[in-house]
């Protein structure tokens, strides 16, 4: 019985990740804090830092203020986007409290599938993917990313 469940779950997951990986990251669409769908394609054209996080994730909460600082420092040169795998209410409160200046998108299964398609098979958070100006994925990182580490990558991007 449980084995059947497990298999069904695995099949569903495989299906979701397949459909998500059918297109690239920039083909996807996620909701913003006000519930409006946003095309990720609008983020293309400049180097991009994609930070997957959640309010229940302690290391995510630690690194976000540093991301906010860096996004201001690189304003106009590098785009930042936060993708929260969480519920809208907690994310909205958190974004206000932490004064997140870059766009924040929200998703549950869809955001999870997107993150898995980006190479985070186990689904651990925080997870950060960095793209160059041509929309090519340069690097990904699981776990807390320090400001110094992030900045050293940003300097190499065009």
């Amino acid at each position: 019985m449980t084995r059947l469940h497990a298999r069904l779950a695995a099949a569903t997951l495989a299906f979701i990740s397949l459909t998500a990986s059918a297109g690239s990251f920039f083909d996807a669409e996620l909701k913003d804090l006000s519930g409006k769908p946003q095309k990720l394609a609008t983020l293309q054209g400049k180097p991009l830092v994609v930070n997957y996080w959640a309010t229940w994730c302690s290391p995510c909460r630690e690194e976000i203020p540093e991301f906010v600082t860096l996004s201001k420092k690189y304003a106009g040169k590098v785009n930042f986007v936060g993708i929260a795998i969480d519920d809208a209410k907690s994310v909205g409160d958190f974004a206000k409290q932490y004064k997140i200046s870059y766009p924040t998108l929200i998703g549950e299964a869809d955001a999870m599938a997107l993150m898995k398609a980006e190479g985070n098979a186990i689904g651990g958070l925080p997870y950060t993917a960095i793209y160059d100006g041509q929309g090519r994925r340069v690097t990904t990182h699981t776990g807390r990313l320090s400001a110094a580490q992030l900045e050293s990558t940003l300097k190499t991007l065009k």
Partner: protein, 513 residues
């Protein structure tokens, strides 16, 4: 000795250091939830938390489906200072959550939980539906029942199911196990000592003999309690250490020394001047010889230790996994009280139960003890010589050294089930398994259909440690399986299985997807 302890400490600290994010376990491996039914139909959910991972207590919930009055009582967690949540309660070790009440038949449990790795990565909340009947309890007897001096053990199908009752029940079972151990040959070396106390100098009646025996047993029990506490604190390290060749060799030599003394090679006692001084002090103290007798009890723990090592190692491994200091100390204290119970009986009955022996008979008895002790030395040293015995390698295994190598081999097994054997030269039951179970023609035929991998962790290298840690193992013996779908099968074989039991296991594994 100091250097050894220091090394032990160092090894402990490094094993506690953070996991590399690149080698993180998937959430279903880091946190495994199982629904276990106890004998009277009640439920408990067992969470296995891999080393280096933790679950948040306040994000754990268990709800019955369909809804009923079942109520989960979450045990207390450990406090963790979280940089962004402050002080939170977490479970860093395996935890058992009992559900109060008897569920209507067929009730499933929806378990929700969320946790993180010490490495600084958190997992999304997990939800699993657990069904009853997946698993049944196996008793503590499986641990001690046949692992003792008689040799040959039949552990339950799962290494995690040994205990699950309350702490008090576990402690009581350890006491019973102790009495069981006292009835083995392990007790012989203690008999001359206890009779020395009872019949010794200054014997002044039954009351005093009983008092001294009690003191003696306390010395023994408190020493064991310390070992239990150490096991709980160090995790499974102590068990692995107890199985090191050097330690085994030292124990064996100790038994040889005892035997030589029995043969009259020398008198095992303190120099006369020390003895009389000790006696002087002891006579002035209100408790009589209590001090030296207590010390004697503590030392006796060392004498019994190696003899009861196999069941003790299993018990320590369990206590180490639980990481519960009170349980660890309590359980081993109870075990030693059990071992000491027959000695107390002798003390209470006084010299009456000990036959009056002539000098001639006494020396013959000593010779007999000596032979038994020599035999025991040889038996303890088994891991050191057993590997040298002639015996064909019944089944060939492909060696794997690292986690990456193992994963490669598993990936290329495509369609074949995989067996991974964790082996070490010093692992008694690994060798027994190789000599007794594997040569069985039915097993050989069955294993032909498996990809056979062996991780030889004799050297205890960093790679070996990483392999063990990857699977949450404390050391060999362990057999793991991957199904034909390349997924790790939950069922593991920890310890020895005879040919029939192992064949049944293989059939179950093969029957999986």
């Amino acid at each position: 000795m100091v250097r050894l302890l220091f090394g032990l400490l160092l090894a402990m600290l490094t094993s506690l250091s953070h996991a590399d994010p690149a080698s993180l376990l998937p959430p279903e491996k880091a946190f495994q939830a199982r629904l276990v039914m106890n004998e009277d139909g009640g439920y408990a959910v067992h969470f296995n938390v891999a080393p280096g991972y933790y679950l948040y207590r306040d994000r754990m919930s268990l709800t019955p489906e369909p809804v009923s009055a079942l109520k989960a009582t979450l045990p207390k967690g450990e406090m963790k200072d979280d940089p962004s949540f402050g002080r939170v309660e977490v479970f860093k070790h395996d935890v058992v959550v009992p559900l109060q009440g008897i569920p209507p038949a067929g009730t499933a449990i929806r378990a929700r939980f969320q946790g993180c790795a010490d490495a600084g990565v958190c997992y999304p909340p997990q939800t699993v539906l657990l069904h009853p009947g997946d698993e049944r309890e196996s008793g503590v007897a499986a641990l001690f029942g046949t692992t003792g001096a008689a040799g040959g053990n039949v552990p339950g199908p799962d290494d995690e199911g040994y205990f699950s009752g309350s702490k008090a029940a576990t402690i009581a079972l350890f006491f019973v196990a102790g009495i069981g151990l006292a009835l083995t040959a392990c007790m012989y070396p203690l008999l001359p000592i206890i009779s020395g106390i009872v019949l010794g100098p200054g014997r002044t009646g039954r009351g005093k003999a009983l008092w001294l025996s009690a003191v003696y047993v306390q010395g023994l029990a408190l020493t064991y309690m310390l070992v239990g506490v150490a096991a709980a604190l160090t995790g499974t390290l102590l068990t692995v250490w107890l199985q090191q060749p050097v330690v085994i060799g030292a124990f064996a030599l100790f038994f040889v020394a005892m035997a030589v003394s029995m043969f009259g090679g020398y008198q095992l006692q303190l120099p006369g001047s020390w003895q009389s001084r000790l006696n002087d002090v002891a006579n002035r103290l209100p408790g009589g010889h209590a001090g030296p007798v207590f010390l004697m009890g503590a030392l006796s723990a060392l004498i019994v230790g190696p003899c009861v090592a196999p069941p003790l190692a299993a018990a320590l491994a369990y206590l180490g996994q639980q990481g519960d200091v009170a349980l660890g100390g309590g359980a081993l204290y109870a075990l030693a009280l059990g071992i000491g119970t027959p000695l107390l009986v002798i003390g209470a009955a006084g010299s009456a139960v000990l036959p009056r022996l002539t000098g001639k008979t006494m020396s013959r008895m000593k010779m007999l003890f000596g032979v038994v002790l020599l035999g025991m030395a040889v038996w303890i040293a088994r891991p050191l010589w057993q590997g040298w015995l002639p015996g064909e390698h019944a089944v060939s295994f492909e060696p794997v050294r690292t986690v990456a190598e193992l994963q490669d081999k598993v990936a290329s097994a495509r369609g074949k089930p995989v067996i991974v054997d964790f082996y070490a030269d010093w692992c008694v039951s690994c060798i027994e398994f190789e000599r007794e179970t594997l040569p069985d023609p039915r097993i050989k035929a069955k294993l032909d259909g498996f990809v056979r991998l062996r991780a030889d962790v004799t050297g205890n290298t960093a790679d070996d440690a990483a392999l063990l840690k990857h699977f949450g193992l404390y050391g060999p013996p362990a057999l793991l399986f991957y199904g034909t779908d390349g997924q790790l099968v939950r069922e593991r074989v920890i310890g020895f299985q005879n040919a029939d039991a192992f064949l049944a296991t293989l059939n179950r594994i093969e029957g999986r997807p």
